[in-house]
């Protein structure tokens, strides 16, 4: 079979059905754009998980007694500190005395006398700031030291982080759900386009069958037409996502990116998403065209 001849047929077919082709490209682009958006959010979530994981720390607050009687961490405090240093799950431990805690508090609320006046040197407990090797072990470590002598309370930022991740997950799921609905629309539209293309060229296909063209040969131009539209759609989806990132997300969320609250979407993320969208576009088009033609073009 000569490729040149097949492609000239494909070009004619796409031109003849130009409005349908455009509709199909747009629908494919939107559905794949949403799919890509979902994937990017998913990647952002996992990047954020790392980002926050690196920063997750546990503050082990000492009792008032230990805080007051052992300001330089020599006795009860030191036992705890050594125990933690020996723990393989713990990356680093740092002792902050009552004095340190007070200074940090004053620093945090500088210029807010209402806040600074309510505490004095003895109000805040001393604490051990613990950084973990594996943020996932946070619960275990918190549990372990929560009951140790001299410890009043263990705090961590898990709850806050979990809430942030919940938002990410929800955004991702909603995006993917819309992408699936759009994909179904795209599937039906592609199927419709293939049907119309096959109908407008039914004389051609019937002659092809009469002269003994194989089923594949008869269906190939229609499948390639659908795939071409699918590929163009997925390229538009990638370009659209890139434009949304450059002109919208990067500008509106620049504060969050710069302060390190959210990880930025990188070029690498696009390198990851692009082949998936191209593959999905080709698959979507080829599959719906194939199924439609099986039902539509007889041998």
């Amino acid at each position: 079979m000569r490729a040149g001849y097949v492609f000239s047929e494909v070009a004619t077919g796409l031109r003849r059905n130009i409005t349908m082709t455009i509709a199909m490209i747009i629908t494919t682009a939107i559905s794949l754009g949403l799919l890509g958006g979902g994937l990017l959010v998913a990647r952002m979530t996992s990047h954020a998980e790392q980002l926050y994981g690196d920063r997750v720390q546990v503050d082990v607050f000492l009792t008032t007694e230990v805080s007051k009687n052992d300001p330089n961490c020599r006795n009860a405090c030191l036992t705890l500190l050594d125990e933690m240093k020996a723990n393989p799950d713990i990356e680093a431990v740092e002792y902050h005395s009552q004095e340190d805690a007070y200074q940090q508090y004053l620093e945090q609320y500088r210029g807010q006398p209402a806040m600074t006046e309510i505490v004095d040197k003895d109000t805040l407990p001393a604490f051990l700031r613990v950084r973990l090797k594996d943020p996932a072990k946070l619960a275990i470590v918190a549990e372990q030291y929560g009951r140790s002598p001299g410890v009043q309370q263990v705090t961590d930022q898990r709850e806050v982080i979990n809430r942030v991740f919940d938002v990410f997950t929800a955004v991702r799921n909603i995006t993917l759900a819309i992408a699936v609905i759009q994909a179904i629309a795209a599937l039906l539209l592609i199927s419709n386009m293939v049907q119309i293309a096959a109908f407008t060229r039914r004389t051609e296909t019937s002659i092809m069958r009469l002269v003994g063209a194989s089923r594949w040969r008869t269906q190939l131009p229609f499948m390639i037409e659908a795939i071409v539209a699918g590929v163009v759609g997925s390229i538009l989806a990638v370009l659209g996502l890139w434009a949304a990132k450059a002109w919208f997300i990067d500008k509106k969320l620049s504060g969050l990116f710069n302060s390190g609250v959210l990880p930025q979407i990188t070029f690498g993320d696009f390198v990851f998403v692009t082949p998936i969208l191209l593959g999905a576009g080709v698959l979507l088009a080829a599959l719906s065209a194939y199924v439609t033609l099986r039902a539509y073009v007889r041998t």
């Binding site: 004389t203 002659i207 092809m208 069958r209 009469l210 002269v211 003994g212 194989s214 040969r217 041998t299």
Partner: protein, 229 residues
């Protein structure tokens, strides 16, 4: 070339079988007419030969293919050995004469050089050498049928099936088309022509197979259209 033995075919929508216990043999290089009134089973007969339909009962071998056992994937290969011509020509209106003829070669994946060489040869055979770049609507009915015959013949089929090829043509043009089919027959191609045209059948004095209500009622070597007509 065509061997049918006790072949029957019914359609779900009809109470009467379209073909009933048909036994026919047409040898290589023969020229035969298939005649009979509308609804007698001529079209079903041709559809079975092309394997557009499968027989319900009986054995049939056409152009070397056993059509009772043929696999679906082999049907296109079977059709490549058969050329087809119809009353309504079935040309592609947006393609020129030579593109229409070349189409039969292109869809089989023939080399471009083969297409360039063979198409003018066949156009010359059917007498259209000066009209290669015309579109079908620029041609007369007889010329369009010549293009269709050229397309059917360009693959040098073993068997040429013609379904009322002169049905839309005036008597003079019909006679020209018959001359063309005879010329193709002389190259060794078996020709089976379904027709209503008694003048043609009577003047050609070739084999006549007559169908009525799905049965073969007459099979004569040098027949005429109908006794007493």
């Amino acid at each position: 070339m065509i061997h049918l033995s006790h072949v029957s075919k019914s359609y779900k929508t009809s109470t009467r079988p379209a073909l009933e216990d048909v036994t026919v043999d047409v040898g290589k290089g023969e020229f035969a007419f298939l005649i009979g009134p509308s609804g007698s089973g001529k079209s079903t007969f041709l559809r079975l030969l092309l394997r557009e339909e499968a027989p319900d009962r009986g054995d049939m071998t056409v152009a070397g293919s056993d059509l009772t056992k043929i696999r679906r994937s082999k049907v296109p290969v079977h059709r490549r050995r058969i050329g087809c011509v119809f009353q309504d020509f079935r040309l592609l209106s947006n393609k020129t004469v030579s593109q229409n003829v070349g189409f039969a070669l292109e869809v089989l994946g023939r080399n471009r050089n083969v297409v360039r060489r063979v198409v003018p040869e066949v156009l010359e055979l059917v007498g259209l050498e000066g009209k290669a770049n015309r579109l079908p609507h620029e041609l007369s009915g007889g010329e369009q049928q010549r293009v269709a015959i050229a397309r059917a013949f360009v693959n040098r089929p073993l068997l040429l099936l013609a379904d009322e090829p002169t049905g839309n043509l005036d008597p003079d043009t019909s006679a020209d088309i018959m001359l063309l089919l005879e010329r193709i027959n002389r190259t060794g191609t078996t020709v089976l022509m379904a027709t209503h045209d008694n003048a043609i059948v009577d003047s050609m004095r070739r084999r006549v197979i007559e169908l009525q209500l799905g049965k073969v009622v007459r099979d004569e070597d040098r027949g005429v259209y109908g006794v007493g007509r």
